[in-house]
Amino acid sequence: MWIYQKKLEFPVNITNPDLMMAKALMAQYGGPDSELAAGMRYLTQRFSMPDDRLRATLNDIGTEEIAHWEMIGTMILQSMDGASLADLEAAGLIGHYTMHGRAVYPADPNGVPFTASYIQSTGDPVADIFEDMAAEQKARATYEHLMNLTDCEQYLAPLRFLREREVVHFQRFSECMNILKELYPDGKQNKLRR
């Protein structure tokens, strides 16, 4: 089970809201490489992972991703707080306003809603961990794009933190891949079983 702690992992306090950033940040709230996708991917893949160290890594990184998802939701909410219809229209958020008002919703910046087809769980540990390493790199690249879109420290500080977490998670998943190479030196991690 999970225990909720009524605080963010890293503080978010946006008092100079930027609607363009609200829209762009949706990539990390409901996009294919979002924090939501990451959390669901790892917490789902852990069930069929063969080694205790890999199960622990997926469980604990998956849990941290949900805390990151909460940070991104907070950033989007605070960025849209009190925005006028004219400002929402100028930022290309009229579609979002029509369907969701000023609420947070798991869709990407183009309005494409989150779907489980963004994640995989193949039952093959090598295939799954490779997907996880790629997901961390894609999320890091997305954070760098987001950081290119703003000069505001209120956005940059949490984005720097989140980008760094992607780097650390990639490192841990790389270690998981090395563990798998030791466990299956013959590459037969997915023997044909009927």
Binding site: Y4, K6, E9, P11, A56, C176
Partner: protein, 82 residues
């Protein structure tokens, strides 16, 4: 410490714990990291206890044994500092 300072201290120590926890997931026998994780976990529990005695529960489902404050009426993290 003010509420804000104490929360910030909790976040710092918790970050050390998150990092050590993830590291230990792939290096479970590293005794230096285990010993650091133990000391920082103790410090984190002390700081959370101190916060909850003064300002109320930080965690739900029975993990915050305190009479002070109120789980429902304290601010949600997305409202903080607003």
């Amino acid at each position: 410490m003010t509420e804000c300072e104490l929360l910030s201290r909790i976040s710092e120590v918790q970050f050390v714990c998150v990092e050590l926890n993830l590291y230990l997931d792939t290096h479970p026998t590293d005794s230096a990291a285990r010993s650091d994780y133990f000391s920082y976990s103790k410090l984190l529990a002390e700081l959370i206890g101190e916060y909850e005695e003064e300002y109320g529960p930080l965690q739900g489902f029975g993990h915050s044994p305190t009479d002070v404050g109120c789980w429902v009426c304290s601010e949600w993290p997305w409202e903080r500092n607003r």
